[in-house]
Amino acid sequence: MAAFTVVSVVLTVAVSLILYNRFYAASREATVRSAQSVVMQTRENLEDYLVSMRRISDAVNFNVVSEIDLTDPALEQEMGLIYESHKDHLISIALYDGSGSLLAAVPVISQKADPDVTRQGWFIDAMDEIENMHFSTPHVQNLFDDATYSYHWVISLSRAVEITDSETTRLGVLLVDMNYSAVSQIMEQINRNENGQYYYLCDGEGNIIWHPKQILIREGYAKEDSAAAAARADGVYRETWQGEKRELVIRSISYTGWKLVGVIPDSSFSYGIINVQYFAILQCILTLMMLLAVNRIVAGRISRPILRLNDSVAAYEAGEKPAIYIGGSAEIRHLGRSVQHSYEQIDSLMRQIVEEQSERRRSEFDALQSQINPHFLYNTLDSITWMVEGGRNEEAVYMISELAKLLRISLSGGHTIIRIGDELQHSRSYMNIQKMRYRDRFRVEFQTEKDIEEFCCVKLILQPILENAIYYGVGDMDAEDGGKILVSGKKEEEDIVLTVEDNGAGMPEEMAARVLTDSTIVHRRGSGVGLLNVNRRIQLIFGAAYGLRVESEPDCGTRVTVRFPAVPFTAENQKRLEQGKLPGQEETQRKQDGTAEAQVAQSTRNGVQT
């Protein structure tokens, strides 16, 4: 999120800068174009003015001086007429001879005592280049007396003329003094900018004709680079003057060699667009404010809850208590709850596995206990002893060999899964020993399909059933009562069904029902590992759908049916079953049958007392 904010701010600033620069460039171009336009227009105005002055001079020269004799009073009259028609722009029109003597002048004013005409620039220029008209730079007219005690700033237009004096011609100088204020007004009109832009007029050598700060320049308070500007051809230039960058627009004024210079300091380009600068800055500030707020909102609703969720998951994985963070937006809360539920399920399943493993161990311990039931062993060895003492060695040998077989299969190398064939052999050996002990008071018959012997079976499931059949069934019957225990086994579809059926005392129906459910039943006789244990062990391995079924009727007998899946006995299947994996089935499906696991756990917790 911080990266997004930074990128957005950078982009916003960049875009603002680019837009401002484009706007500035456009403004600059427009300003320069505007200045060029002003310069062009002003040049035209000045040229028009100068042309009109030239025309006045031409009119006086060609229509008056050349046509009228000097001695004719009409000369001054004609001059006066021309003056009157243009007196707004003129100070005076005067005619001098070659020695600087005043011949005629309008308006009628007295000449100064000693104006020293021949040393004045306009006179010298006119006499030096008689073919041209000459425009002077602005100066104070130093020719005539003014009763108002005032002096006039003029621009002198002088030219050499031929004067007819009593029918003789001589060279003279016609002087038209233009009112400088006319030029001054034209220039003042275009110098009303407040942005620092200004225009000035100089002659071909850089002498200032008009400048908004001409007095300051003359007094030495200001400077202008007019000489350099005058040396340049017409065009637009960029220069640095007194540390300030500026654009110059230069145009020449015809007839005079003057230069009209427009000066545009760089600061004037940004004069009117200061608000644009402020707007760009304001935009950046508002964008930053908005981004900070969005950043905080997103962080508060999304980033932070995700990070907290991640931290809580990491804490759980590190072994802390599973307190998964539930917060933030609906999606993140859902995520948290799902993770919490998953971890709770994992915990529960792990507990179940631990409990099952404990139960398995307890069951196996119980089964193991039955394997080495000291009472059965003691009794059997005791029987062997009195057989040997009684000289019944063959019977003793038989008992010993059956006992050996029984113990061998009981151990089975520590496996809990054996062949059905071995389980049947174990039960045969057990029954053979019991028959001898019980002096054949009952018969045992095994009716099992040969095919089933190569399938897997939980070890020591038949012996406890046979034990119960003897102790609670046929064990107390006399030989003539015809007690019988039938062990049968077959394969039914995908299952193995083993049956132990006796015709002994039987038990009430309610008791038969309790045998596989009530763990508090105390076995009065036998190994103490009852049918409940057998049922649990079968269900632990194969699932709750399998196990024992007890059917009994008092005085009729009892039938115990064992059912489990037909799993061919191979080393791999044996290993998988002992690991709790049913070949071809998901482990979790088996573990989802909670009834069996709960029963096993309950049975294990209560224990089986002997």
Partner: protein, 323 residues
Amino acid sequence: MKHDRKKDTRMLFLLAELVLGIAAAGMLAVMFSGEKETPKAAVIVSQSDSGQWSAFVAGIKQAASDRNIDVVISSTGWLTVEEERALMQQEMDSGADALIVQPAPGTGTERMLRETAGNVPVMLVGAGTAAGDAAPSFPVMMADNYAMGEALAGMIREDFAGKLDGRTVGLVSRTPDAADAADRERGFLDGMKGTGCTVQWTLRGTDEDKTEAIYAENRVDLVAALNTGDLEAAGTDAEARRIHGALVYGIASSTKALYFLDHDNVEGLVFPNGFELGYRSFAEVAEKLEHGSYRMQSGDVSFRTLRREDLFSGEDEVLFMPQ
């Protein structure tokens, strides 16, 4: 710990938003504040329409244009202290943010200026305060009056090669209460010491009607006019041949004075730079208006000595200000 960190982050966020919000509000205020009102300064000088102030007014207007400050030149005649006080009050009531004032002659000017101006910045021009008054507590822009008096004496000494034994001079100084006149007179008299020239008479506040009689009855070789008005009057008298051949010298700053110089009615002029006076005094005032904490500075403006042959040289031609 986590709670504290969360709280710190929240505070930081609020602080950042507050700072940015203030910046944005400030920017908006600047953008929509509109054009700042242009400050205004008023100029109060005696006989403001006379030619002696042409250059001064040109300097004032140039500086006002450069600094983008409005300026009002009050139209006045001869001002008394009371009249000047009323005019100052009027201009301040009209919105003047600063005043440029030529102190009216007479005692009590300093106190009047202090009491009237209040917090409005005041720049004195031409002179400090009246002779005998307290030292000015306002900044003053003026030419060195004593030095001008000395320079005037110097011109006379130069023209006569220092040989003025037996020569007489008449002093014309019709505004003796003005501090500038007193300093000029002192400078002139000090400058003339040891020349052998004696002061025959001094015209102070004399009716003009009696001037001709004084000229006729007390002929002098030289007339020294110590201010523009007196020099113009002497020049007029010289033009009318009423001063009986006395050579006129003076301290003046008007086109009319230049006219008299141009027409040999005046032999020599000490010409204070009126343009510089106006420009620099207004520049100080402008600086004060732009930077409120700025302390206005007093200053000396330049003057030059003029003779007829100098008048139309490029450098001195600038003295001919448009009327």
